[in-house]
């Protein structure tokens, strides 16, 4: 359950709008159901009062929207950033992807976001209302007489269970209290896969990646994927495809995508959140992050603006590619 209320955020946004500091507010807009929330640009206080929401389903990371948005306007936009969003924000700044002068960033604390699929799996079909209570999410459905109460820890998204940081690494203003960088078990699943035999790993990924429908949602939501033109859309790149034509191209797409964001991925987890087939895409990105941390020293993309991503960097005594395998085996 979020500690900061919707009203506090509206008040902040309204005052900045009224003062003319910003001309718009990037925030979450209530949808049809209790859990569906759409990123939206609010330009008036009335809109904010009517439709702005802040709660346990506001997972969307707005950082990427700033790329297109700051190009369109000369005035400032207010953006609400959860701690994990601030890493994407910084990484985009490092890569000169938007004009910092046009953004007023308000950091807001986050207690973790609910995973809609988990809620649906527990509460069942026909969700008509969800209320945040002390005990957890009280879910009213068409098929249950009384609301089903789901404890927050049971509803929490994987990326939030393994939250890497409650600390905001960028903001103009912070609402609420600043948190800390956390120790998380986010690499445990990667380690578990590494410990498998190659055959098991192959079977695992074959099963997962064959579900891919190449909708590109993972790419299109990814704050690291802001290419003006993606290689997979570019007929001259030699990699353009529109459909997963067989098992090779499923892998090709995901390997290259993970490689292109390697060292730049902040592990925000949006890719896995939006995947319609629930492929654990974060396990690909985290493999690179884990490898980078192991072999080139701890590196958190977006922790600071201007840091040099590990794959555009080197030391003269880096590990040899062949030795990476061997170390992997020792760990296994």
């Amino acid at each position: 359950m979020q500690k900061i209320t919707r009203e506090v955020l509206i008040e902040k946004a309204a005052s900045l709008l009224n003062e003319g500091v910003v001309s718009g507010v990037l925030g979450w807009k209530q949808g049809e159901f209790a859990y569906d929330v759409t990123p939206a640009l609010f330009t008036t206080v009335d809109e904010l009062n009517e439709q702005f929401v802040w709660g346990d389903f506001c997972g969307a990371n707005f950082s990427k929207y700033l790329v297109a948005h700051t190009r369109k306007t000369q005035s400032k936009v207010l953006v609400f950033l959860k701690p994990c969003d601030t890493y994407s924000f910084n990484q985009l700044l490092t890569e000169h992807r938007f004009d910092r002068e046009k953004v007023y960033a308000v950091g807001i604390p986050c207690e973790g976001m609910a995973d809609v699929s988990k809620v649906k799996a527990i509460a069942g079909e026909g969700i008509t209302a969800i209320e945040s209570t002390e005990e957890g999410l009280a879910v009213t459905t068409l098929y249950n007489d009384a609301p089903v109460v789901i404890a927050y820890e049971d509803a929490l998204a994987e990326r939030c269970i393994n939250c890497k940081s409650k600390k905001h690494v960028a903001y103009d203003e912070l609402i609420g209290e600043e948190g800390d960088v956390l120790e998380s078990g986010r690499f445990d699943q990667v380690a578990a896969l590494e410990a498998m035999t190659p055959d098991e790993r192959f079977a695992f990924w074959q099963k997962e990646l064959s579900k891919c429908i190449r909708c590109n949602a993972c790419r299109d939501v990814c704050p690291a994927c802001t290419c003006e033109k993606c290689v997979f859309n570019n007929p001259v790149s030699g990699a353009e495809t529109k459909a997963p034509m067989g098992t090779f191209e499923e892998k090709m797409f995901h390997i290259i995508r993970a490689f292109h964001v390697a060292g730049r991925c902040t592990d925000c987890g949006e890719c896995s959140r939006v995947c319609p087939q629930d492929i654990p895409l974060h396990l690909l990105n985290r493999k690179f992050i884990k490898d980078i941390n192991t072999h080139y020293g701890e590196y958190q993309a977006g922790a600071e603006v201007g840091s040099r991503a590990p794959l555009v960097n080197y030391t003269t005594n880096d590990v040899e590619p062949g030795d990476v395998f061997e170390r992997g085996e020792e760990n296994a």
Binding site: R71, K72, H96, E228, C230, N234, A309, V312, T315
Partner: protein, 664 residues
């Protein structure tokens, strides 16, 4: 669609012995784009080359593939052949069917099959080749030398000697650098001033050389042959053109207690000063932090005593903009700070000094007028301990010292020890060392003289602690050969402090986009074969900015750098390699990934207005490659996530075509 000619060479029996050349030329005839295919005994012979030229004309070929020996052997030959027949030389590809086929495979079917595949790959590539033209850029015939120490001085003199104008930028009020502070020089023991100051005068009198002293480089733009540099000439509050260097002002200035940098703070100078007698330019400089007139408008003595009327309290910093064809970095070195080495009591006792301070103590122009007196009480020291490798070769103490060997300390310590024993035979001298490294002409002989003739006590081992006690310094060390603890009551302890690059080097490297190693020494273009060039074209390295060096080595490197500069400036135009990176601006994200992997600093960014796919316009940051600087390695093409960066001559599509042809 290309019209490709294929020429399969027999190389006598070198190729034809293991490859069925007829089968190869027949097989390649049917490849897409191929309109002509033949084979011949020696393609590189005059007859073979004529065959190619004739075919280019007769079949209106737009590209050719030569299946022959390694491109490292005859690519240039066949490119010239093509050019002679009116074909762009970069429309030639070589399939290496000798070194990488006929010579390493035994039987004809295998060799033939592989030769055909290599030929197909070359044809696939040529299908995507585009004519390339090397870019040309003019050369500004003037060099900039950054740093006016012995390295910069020598480089400037050599360049000027070849007839090219040179500017020296020096941050201090005078040129001369560290060498000007030294007393004697090893291994010949001639006095530093005696050999340096004539060179300084040469510089001052050379009409090809301009000296910007008390100045620093503020901005560098451009590229090899065409650098635009902004130099900030700091206000010295004295008109350089008028000042005669008579020194009247420096005698009358009432502000007497300013620590004298030239003597490392061991004595004082005035607020208006000339660093030393032989300074070049010999003009006074007012220290704005010490001058009462500048600080609160009270005084003005120097202006009153200056007969020439050179004092100008209103002088402002001045920005000089100049174009250069080449830049030489000669920013030199400094001893590292001894503050963190508590064990040697440097901060606790005035009688623990660095070797450079020792140089000043023994120098006739130094604070003691050359008499060896210890700083605390100006008494003659009878026991001196020299400690080597303070902060050098110090892998375990990286936070305060350096991992590398500072290279010069063994020799100058031997020199100091010898000089002390020579002048003051009553003084006992001890040297603690890890190793004595003396590889240089007459160096080891020099060191042995110190031990054998002058009786310097060399102790292999490190000093653990120096404790000031009364008038003495208790030195506690270990003798590794005798395997015992050593205790010495010393009067003076001299620390051979590690040397490090000057602090100005790092920001300068950023300005120059020249690479540095982790110790902030400039990196050479190739450690063995291009030791005086930076990977950034047009930037050259002279002296200790590249690594620790003694004077002979510095001077020879300075000359080498000068000769490289002269070679560059002698050209009217630079012709580039056309196989360079080129970005597609429409796809470029401006993310800086390419810039970060470019070893040459060839990539810069500009903000440009673009019409976006949705018909709006947007200002986007996009990469630009300087064709005069790019060397065509291709690192950027892989760093670029969008594939906007491609490499001419080795384009992604070309390599993919080769892969496809091979894997068919």
């Amino acid at each position: 669609m290309q019209r490709i000619g294929v020429f399969v060479c027999w190389c006598g029996s070198n190729i034809a012995g293991t490859v069925d050349v007829q089968a190869v030329s027949d097989a390649l005839k049917n490849e897409p784009g191929v309109v002509f295919s033949t084979n011949y005994q020696y393609m590189c012979s005059q007859a073979g080359q004529n065959m190619i030229k004739d075919a280019i004309k007769e079949y209106r070929l737009t590209g050719i593939v030569v299946c022959s020996c390694s491109p490292r052997m005859h690519e240039a030959t066949f490119r010239k052949t093509a050019q002679a027949a009116g074909l762009n030389p970069y429309m030639v590809e070589i399939a290496n069917i000798r070194e990488q086929c006929s010579w390493v495979h035994k039987d004809i079917p295998t060799g033939t099959e592989k030769a055909i595949i290599l030929g197909k790959a070359a044809v696939a590539k040529v299908n995507l080749n585009a004519p390339l033209t090397p870019g040309e850029s003019p050369v500004t015939k003037r060099a900039l030398v950054i740093g006016g120490g012995i390295a910069g001085i020598q480089t400037a003199l050599d360049i000027a000697d070849a007839g090219f104008p040179v500017d020296i930028v020096e941050t201090k009020p005078t040129i001369g650098g560290k060498m000007a502070q030294l007393d004697k020089t090893f291994p010949t023991l001639d006095c530093a001033a005696c050999i340096l100051t004539p060179k300084m005068v040469d510089v001052a009198q050379n009409d090809k050389i301009r000296i910007f002293s008390y100045s620093e480089v503020q901005e560098v733009k451009g590229f090899v042959g065409n650098f635009d540099v902004k130099i900030k000439k700091k206000a010295r509050y004295v008109n350089e053109d008028i000042c005669t260097g008579c020194g009247a002002c420096t005698e009358k200035c009432p502000q007497k207690n300013v620590p004298n940098e030239f003597n490392l703070g061991m004595d004082n100078r005035r607020a208006i000063y000339i660093p030393f007698a032989q300074a070049v330019p010999k003009v006074a400089t007012i220290d704005p932090n010490a001058c009462n007139m500048l600080k609160n408008g009270k005084c003005g003595v120097c202006a009153k005593v200056c007969a020439a009327g050179a004092i100008d309290y209103k002088q402002q910093d001045q920005i000089i903009e100049e174009k250069y064809g080449a830049i030489v970095v000669a920013t030199g070195f400094n001893p590292i700070s001894m503050e963190k080495f508590d064990e040697f009591a440097y901060s606790q006792s005035k009688d623990v000094i660095t070797s450079l301070e020792f140089e000043r103590l023994t120098n006739a122009a130094g604070p003691t007028a050359g008499k060896l007196l210890r700083p605390s009480d100006l008494e003659h020291p009878h026991t001196i301990v020299f400690v080597q490798c303070v902060g050098s070769r110090c892998a375990a103490c990286a936070e305060k010292g350096k991992e590398y060997c500072s290279k010069i300390c063994c020799m100058y310590t031997a020199k100091h020890a010898m000089l002390v024993r020579d002048k003051y035979p009553d003084t006992e001298v001890y040297v603690f060392y890890i190793d004595v490294r003396t590889p240089g002409k007459n160096f080891d002989e020099f060191y042995r003289r110190a031990v054998e003739e002058y009786g310097v006590h060399y102790i292999k081992g490190m000093v653990g602690k120096v404790t000031p006690e009364g008038k003495k310094l208790k030195v506690q060390g270990s003798d590794l050969i005798m395997d015992e603890q050593v205790h010495i009551d010393a009067d003076l302890v001299v620390l051979a402090a590690a040397i490090e690059p000057d602090k100005s080097a790092r920001p300068l490297a950023t300005m120059l986009t020249a690479s540095m190693d982790t110790n902030d020494f400039f990196t050479e273009a190739h450690p063995k074969l291009r030791p005086v060039e930076s990977p950034t074209a047009g930037v050259f390295l002279s002296g200790a900015c590249q690594g620790p060096k003694d004077i002979p080595e510095t001077v020879s490197q300075a000359g080498a750098a000068a000769s490289k500069v002269i070679g560059l400036l002698a050209k009217d135009k630079l012709t580039g390699n056309p196989c360079i990176a080129s970005p597609n601006e429409l796809m470029c994200n401006g993310c800086s990934s390419c810039e970060r992997v470019c070893p040459y600093g060839a990539i810069t960014y500009v903000d440009k207005e673009f019409r976006m796919p949705d018909r709006t316009t947007a200002i986007r940051r996009v990469a630009q490659v300087n064709p005069a600087v790019c060397q065509g390695c291709g690192a950027c093409t892989v760093a670029c996530p969008s594939g906007a960066m491609d490499l001419r001559g080795f384009a992604s599509a070309q390599i993919i075509a080769e892969v496809d042809a091979i894997c068919k």
